[in-house]
Symmetry: C2
Subunit: 198 residues, 2 copies
C-alpha cells in the first residue's frame, strides 16, 4: 500500500479544504495516509517573510480569499475568515502531535472546522480544550503533554524535515518515493500518482 | 457571448500550457477570448522582486519545474527549460500587440513553442523574425511597428491595467464582470464560471 505524507499547517487556508477532503479520497483507494502537522512560519521566515505572504502581498491575499471561498462553496464547506489571520497554530500543531496517530485526523479536522467554519480562535487553550473534550480526550493531560519538551522538539524536527524535503507551503502531499504535490488543487493528482507508481 | 480576458506573459512557465490549451477549450463553448499579453516584471518589482520568484525562492523553483514537467507530459506538450530563465519577453509582447487581434493567438502559441518546446531565445530579434515569417507576416515592418512609441505605450498601459485589476501573476483569466482565475490549473474553472454567469 503506497504511503502519502500529508503535510499541513493549521494556519494555512488551503490546508482546510484539503484536510476535509483527504480522508474520504484516500479511503476510496489503497493508500496509507500519514498526517504530518508542521509550521510554515519558520520556512517563510527563511524567505524573509515575517507574516503570511497573503498579508505581505495584498493582491495575492485578495485573490486567495476569493479563491478559497469558491473552493469551499464547491465542496459545501462553510468558510469565514479567521481574525486575526493567520492564527497562531503552534498549540494546535503540538496537540495534534501529542495525540495517538489514529486520533490525529479527527482532531485536525475539528481544528479546521473550529477555525474556518466557526471563526474560533484556535490559538486559545480553552478552544483547543473544548475540541479535545468533544473528541473524548482529557484536555488537561493532553495539553500538558503537548507542551512538554519532547513534543516541542518533535514539532521542530518535523518542520526541519519539511524544509529538508523542499516543502515551501501548505498543504503538501509527498508520495512514497518523494514525488511532491503542493496545494489543495493537487490532492487528486497526488492520489493518482501514488496509485500509478506505488 | 461571455468574454474572457486571458492575461499572459511570454516569460511565464504556466502561461505556456495555458496558451496551448485555451483556444481549443474556448472553441468548445460560446466564449469570446481576448489575448492580452503583459509584463509580470513590473508587478513583481512592486513586490521587491528583481528576478522571477522561482529563482529567488529555490525550493519553489525546483517544485515549479517538476510540476510544469508533469503538466506538460499530461497534455503531450514538449518542455525544456529556457536558458536563461526567465527569458526577456518584452519584444515578443510588443510584437503580439502590434499584430492584428486575429493573429495574436497564433503568434503567441508560436512564441511559447519556440521558447519551451524548442529552447529558442525569444528575446532575440532573429528568432522572433523567423516566427513571423513562418506565420506569413513581414518581419521587418512588424518588428518596426512593435518597437514604435504607440506599441511601447500600449504594453505599459496593458501592464498598468493588469495591476489595477489586481493581477499578480500569469496566466490570469478575468471573466467579464471581474471574476479572476489565476493559473493554468484554473482554466476550466474560468470557462465554467463564464458559462454559468455569462
Amino acid at each position: 500500500m503506497t504511503r502519502i505524507d500529508f503535510w499541513y499547517d493549521f494556519a494555512s487556508t488551503y490546508s482546510y479544504p484539503a484536510a476535509m477532503r483527504l480522508e474520504q479520497l484516500a479511503a476510496e483507494h489503497p493508500i496509507e495516509l500519514r498526517w504530518r502537522p508542521f509550521l510554515v512560519g519558520p520556512i517563510f521566515a527563511a524567505h524573509g517573510w515575517r507574516n503570511s505572504p497573503f498579508n505581505i502581498y495584498p493582491a495575492k491575499g485578495r485573490y486567495m480569499w476569493r479563491d478559497i471561498e469558491r473552493i469551499c462553496a464547491r465542496y459545501a464547506l462553510p468558510m469565514q475568515r479567521p481574525d486575526p489571520f493567520p492564527q497562531n497554530s503552534v498549540l494546535a500543531a503540538r496537540v495534534a502531535l501529542a495525540l495517538p496517530d489514529a486520533d490525529r485526523p479527527g482532531f485536525s479536522r475539528a481544528v479546521y472546522t473550529a477555525e474556518y467554519a466557526q471563526g474560533k480562535a484556535i490559538a486559545e487553550r480553552n478552544v483547543v480544550a473544548e475540541l479535545l473534550t468533544g473528541l473524548g480526550h482529557d484536555p488537561s493531560s493532553t495539553i500538558e503533554r503537548a507542551n512538554s519538551e519532547p513534543i516541542k522538539t518533535k514539532l521542530r524536527t518535523e518542520t526541519d524535515e519539511a524544509q529538508r524535503l523542499g516543502i515551501f507551503g501548505a498543504p503538501t502531499c509527498v508520495v512514497e518515493g518523494g514525488e511532491m504535490f503542493w496545494g489543495n488543487d493537487r490532492l487528486e493528482e497526488a492520489l493518482a500518482w501514488a496509485l500509478a507508481h506505488g
